[in-house]
């Protein structure tokens, strides 16, 4: 039963990936001849406090470096085009889409992934709040949601303005409206949004 469920979920994912690939299929006849051979470069990343020296194809995204080269598979590949937010990680204190960044651009940078925020035996307060408030169903978008949520509360604290802020000269507050706007780059197809905002509100209340 479990394996059947897994198979159907996998083929569903493969199916949707195929549709996306079809929509984006490059036109074979239009391709210019390939004149550049694959190129590799050394890349040093400090991920969750640990230094890694990698030799990577220049095309490797930060997301693929984390998942395929460092086996940190907590960070998820959703759309791979910066539209879903499943790949969100924190780089040098800022949340970014790791799928839209080349690993070589981050040579020397410090990266925090979901694995670095907390561990099962020692959860980050945001992870604990997501569990308490049922902030997920399938869980696929959750690592990105949690990395984003942690960074959003930091952005509010640092006074980064937002689209819904009425007065730009005021310090923003962690209101429901603010958190919904600031989390709009993280899609949850299960629709756990209201519970995610509840989890964030609890952490914000405890912190601010």
């Amino acid at each position: 039963m479990t394996s059947e469920l897994e198979i159907s979920r996998r083929s569903l994912l493969a199916g949707s990936a195929a549709t996306a690939a079809l929509a984006a299929a490059p036109q074979a006849e239009a391709k210019p001849p390939m004149t550049t051979r694959p190129s590799t470069l050394p890349v040093v990343l400090t991920v969750n406090g640990k230094r890694h020296e990698l030799m990577l194809d220049t095309r490797t995204t930060l997301l693929d470096a984390l998942r395929e080269h460092l086996n940190l598979t907590g960070t998820k590949k959703g759309c791979d085009h910066g539209q879903c937010g499943a790949c969100t990680v924190i780089v040098e204190g800022q949340r970014i889409n790791s799928c839209l960044s080349l690993a070589v651009q981050h040579h020397g940078d410090a990266v925090t992934t979901i694995e670095g925020l907390g561990r099962p035996e020692k959860l980050h307060p945001m992870q604990a709040a997501f569990i308490k408030h049922d902030g997920y169903q399938c869980g696929y978008c959750t690592p990105g949601q949690i990395c984003s949520a942690v960074a959003v509360l930091d952005e509010i604290k640092r006074g980064v303005p937002s689209h819904v802020q009425a007065d730009l000269s005021h310090q923003p507050q962690a209101t429901n409206l603010e958190m919904r706007e600031r989390m709009s780059g993280n899609i949850c197809r299960c629709g756990a949004y209201s519970n995610i905002v509840d989890a964030m509100a609890e952490v914000a209340g405890a912190k601010l």
Partner: protein
């Protein structure tokens, strides 16, 4: 994605020379748009010159009382800057109306100016597109055109410039500063930076090959009420159907530019001159030469109403 080589020079002159030296070379800033297009093989650079070490990440006051924004300043840093929030609120508003928090943390000032259209036929590599493959035709004309341009179009292209930031920079009379490989620099008024499609829709801007954006300067503040109104299909994280950037003075005069309607931010000075007469008067002049499709004709009344709501808001405040 096609293979490419990569370098990270330390000065703007080296970067410009590096791109000029090699065919198929491109500058890489945040990469949030370029990398997306490279994955789809719409962009196929053979060499990337990363500009992150060029020290273009500062915002400095100018002698004229304005601000000089480094090309590599992120969208978040620009929108959050105290001086920008205080004196150029329309710019903070426009930036915060675009993209997502993650993208704004990575996307840069120059990269945002250079982002490419989101016309669905540009992205769909199975379709003809004069912007993606010059001479192949335009599938958008006669296709699904709800999102596309209503004015300044040609029979080769009806794509829009998708950004918000540049629409605000347009009402602020910003200037784009550049350097060339030969060491010369120039200042391009924002109104002359983006092009209309004409017969060459594959050329988005008036930059020369290898010309590097180093900064965007803002003249000294002009006061007034700063508003950016964006109308889109979702409340957040969507491109504009129509947007309006406005700076309105207490006597009702002011400046207005529209986004989501053309191949560049759409500002018509003769139109904004009649701002005290109301939104209908402005849009009648701004969109006098509009050639909408059946799908996107709604953008004209929508633009008028978006501006009308901004004006009304000022009266009730």
């Amino acid at each position: 994605m096609r293979a490419f080589t990569y370098e990270r020079p330390g000065t703007s002159a080296e970067a410009a020379a590096a791109v000029a030296r090699r065919s198929g070379a491109k500058f890489l800033a945040g990469g949030t748009n370029l990398l997306d297009l490279m994955k789809l093989e719409i962009e196929t650079p053979q060499h990337l010159v990363d500009v992150q070490d060029l020290k273009l990440n500062r915002i400095d006051p100018t002698r004229e009382g304005g601000l000089r924004i480094g090309a590599f300043v992120t969208n978040t840093a620009l929108a959050a800057d105290e001086r920008v929030r205080r004196s150029y609120g329309v710019l903070t508003r426009a930036i915060m109306a675009g993209a997502s928090g993650q993208l704004r943390n990575k996307a840069t000032t120059a990269g945002n100016l250079l982002q490419r259209t989101r016309c669905p036929y540009f992205y769909d590599t199975n379709q003809p597109c004069n912007k993606r493959r010059p001479g192949s035709g335009c599938a958008a004309i006669g296709g699904v055109s709800r999102q596309l341009a209503v004015i300044g179009t040609s029979d080769k292209c009806i794509a829009t410039y998708p950004g918000d930031m540049a629409v605000a920079m347009s009402v602020l009379d910003a200037t784009v500063e550049t350097v060339n490989a030969d060491g010369t620099s120039r200042a391009i008024p924002i109104a002359d930076f983006h092009r209309l499609p004409g017969d060459t829709p594959h050329v988005d801007t008036n930059l020369q090959p290898g010309e590097l954006i180093t900064a965007v300067t803002l003249p000294k503040p002009i006061g007034g009420r700063h508003v950016y109104r964006k109308v889109r299909d979702r409340a957040s994280y969507a491109f504009a159907l129509v947007s309006v950037a406005a700076v309105i003075q207490t006597n009702g005069a002011g400046r207005v530019a529209f986004g989501g309607v053309a191949h560049k931010p759409w500002r018509v000075k003769a139109a904004e001159g009649v701002l005290p007469e109301g939104a209908m008067a402005v849009s009648a002049r701004a969109f006098a030469d509009a050639r909408p499709t059946q799908d996107n004709a709604f953008k004209l009344p929508l633009a008028t109403r978006a501006l009308a709501s901004i004006i009304a808001e000022g009266r009730s405040a």
